[in-house]
Amino acid sequence: MCSSTTLRACTALVLTLTLGSCSRSSGSSGAPARSATTERRAVLVTIGSAATFGDGLANKLRDSWPQKLYHEAFPTSTVLVNASDRAVTVGRALGQPLALALEVHATVVAVWLGDTDASVENFGTSLDLLVERLRDSGARVLLGNLSRDRAGDAAANDAIARIARARGATLVDLTTALSGTPGVGPSSLVDVATSRKIAEAFAAALAPS
């Protein structure tokens, strides 16, 4: 399904790590010291599935919705960590993606999940826990809802809206934003135009009302 260009882009990050003639392996432990003069930077973390990862895009490093949101709605000094994974469930997002958001002291976390969970009940419970943990860390949480194309989307959207209200998260109305592109969900392939729509919806939710 993926073109050679897509595959090349998929391996870009992996290839990044083959660098480093100046850096050498060391047997000792301990991480580099942080500079005392470094100011606290805004950190955007995105948690999602295939669409957030950028599957379907030839140039996901430029065109995925987290990248577009990062470029268009945040100042230059912001750091982006895309903690998405293909076919991730909310249950799995409670693992490494959540830990990562907490580790980097995320100031904004954009979450778009929901169409890969087995049941709405489990989805609601796990999402509530995820948002609670993120809100407790002081992060602003943006919660994207679903497009209502599939069975269960409406119930999932009810859960998302309820959790957003209860936990002080910001609901991102992707149902409306993606109304012209049926079949698009968190775990689907996306094109550049769809990525842009998703990013714009998140950016609109970020703006003060």
Partner: protein, 451 residues
């Protein structure tokens, strides 16, 4: 006879035989011009060659790597490294306190994936650059590529002189500023002429980190956006991106916290390297030996610089020799002119002696005349030599610019200019000594009788 009278007689003699005086002055001027232009060009070439040898740092710079010295390594500029050994702040301070060390600059290097500016300027018309870099992850100029982010303590830039092609260096405390190299421009299909146009554009840097999840390994990037504020002439270590050390440290912290970062060239050393500057070229060997005792591998181009210095010294001797031959010829010209003057002015010498001038008064007149010719010739010659060297530098700089290399700066070689005038005057005095002596010893009666 006082000096004023002697000067007046010498000046009158010079103006009375203006043609011969002008020719003598020209001979001296030509020789002085030849010598001074050769010296100026030689000195400029010397500094240029040594600057090139020490690209990326001063001549007294020593690179200290995060590795122990190889016990079996012979003394070379770049000895093989021993086992990895982290450089921490304590090691940096210990090295900074060593005798002969002028300064220590910490360097942090981290591999990054670079997303070039989206609004990449088009190459300047008429220039073509072939992009043939295996690190490019695509065929087009805007494709992402791998590189090294080199973080340097920019508050210590006096110890790491970096010359700018365009713009400025990043602010030492900025988290969003970066300078790039000419190599970076070439990778984007641009040339040095495009340096100004890339300023203000934004690029994105991703530091990668490995995560192990069950049986899978996931790579996640930590992305930062940076504005290009300058283009530097030198390659910066192994990288093309120069940033404040805090930016590189943050990226390195992220990468080093991964599950198997060492396999991808990211170690846990707080500093990737140190750049140590010795107080003088002569102390480089001593400082390197001291750092080896502390337990770190070093590299410095000291053997190369010593070889280049020897070679350049030979060139200077040859050039100086050519100039000196010119000066000797000029001296012979002065002596010849003065001997001719003595012969022509025998009657005048006789009259001077008849009215009471002593031998030393006559000698003084002729020496003053020779010194005047030498001084004027020296002043004209050294000035002409400097202008000639400048013209030559213009031609050379044109060629260097065409080749994409930094030009030569001559400055004003005060020592050569002053030394040229004084030297030419002294040479004229020496050359005029025998004619002056001959004139002084000429008996008055013999001088008058010849007529």
């Amino acid at each position: 006879m006082n000096y004023r009278d002697a000067i007046a007689i010498a000046a009158r003699s010079v103006t009375r035989r203006l043609g011969r005086a002008v020719l003598t002055v020209l001979a001296v001027a030509l020789a002085a011009a030849l010598l001074s232009s050769l010296l100026i060009a030689g000195t400029a070439a010397r500094s240029r060659v040594l600057d090139d040898v020490s690209r990326g740092g001063p001549l007294t710079g020593i690179r200290v790597d995060a590795a122990a010295p190889d016990a079996g390594a012979l003394d070379t500029d770049n000895p093989p490294q021993g086992a990895p050994r982290p450089i921490d702040e304590a090691a940096r301070r210990r090295i900074a306190a060593l005798p002969g060390v002028r300064g220590v600059v910490a360097v942090v290097v981290n591999p990054v994936l670079v997303i070039p500016p989206a609004n990449l300027p088009k190459p300047t018309r008429g220039t073509t650059t072939t992009i043939n870099d295996p690190r490019l992850l695509g065929d087009e100029p805007g494709a992402p590529f791998r590189d090294q982010l080199v973080g340097v303590d920019l508050t210590r830039l006096t110890d790491v002189p970096v010359s700018l092609e365009a713009g400025r260096l990043p602010d030492a405390t900025s988290q969003t500023e970066v300078a790039v190299t000419e190599g970076f421009l070439r990778r984007l299909g641009l040339t040095k002429k495009d340096a100004e146009r890339i300023l203000g554009t934004e690029l994105e840097l991703g530091a990668a980190r490995l995560f192990s999840e069950r049986d899978a390994t996931v790579v996640r990037g930590r992305w930062t956006r940076m504005n290009i504020v300058g283009v530097v002439a030198q390659q910066i270590g192994d990288g093309q991106l120069l940033a404040p050390i805090a930016s590189a440290t943050e990226a390195r912290h992220w990468a080093a916290s991964g599950s198997n970062s060492a396999a991808f060239g990211v170690d846990s050393s707080p500093y990737s390297a140190l750049f140590v500057v010795a107080r003088s070229l002569a102390l480089v060997s001593t400082v390197r030996a001291e750092i080896t005792k502390v337990g770190f591998s070093t590299s410095a181009p000291e053997t190369l610089i010593a070889s280049v210095q020897r070679y350049l010294h030979v060139v200077e001797i040859v050039l100086g020799g050519i100039g000196l031959i010119g000066l000797v010829i000029a001296a012979l010209g002065i002596a010849n002119a003065m001997l001719a003057a003595v012969r022509e002015r025998r009657r005048e010498i006789g009259v001077l002696k008849a009215i009471g001038a002593r031998d030393r008064d006559v000698r003084r007149i002729f020496l003053l005349e020779a010194a005047t010719l030498g001084c004027i010739g020296g002043a004209i010659g050294t000035t002409a030599g400097w202008l000639t060297a400048r013209a030559l530098a213009g031609v050379v700089n044109g060629y260097l610019a065409k080749e994409g290399l930094a030009g030569v700066s001559l400055g004003v070689p005060t020592t050569v200019l002053i030394g040229g005038v004084i030297g030419a005057t002294l040479l004229a005095l020496v050359a005029g000594t025998i004619p002056a002596q001959r004139a002084a010893r000429l008996p008055a009666r013999q001088a008058m009788g010849d007529r």
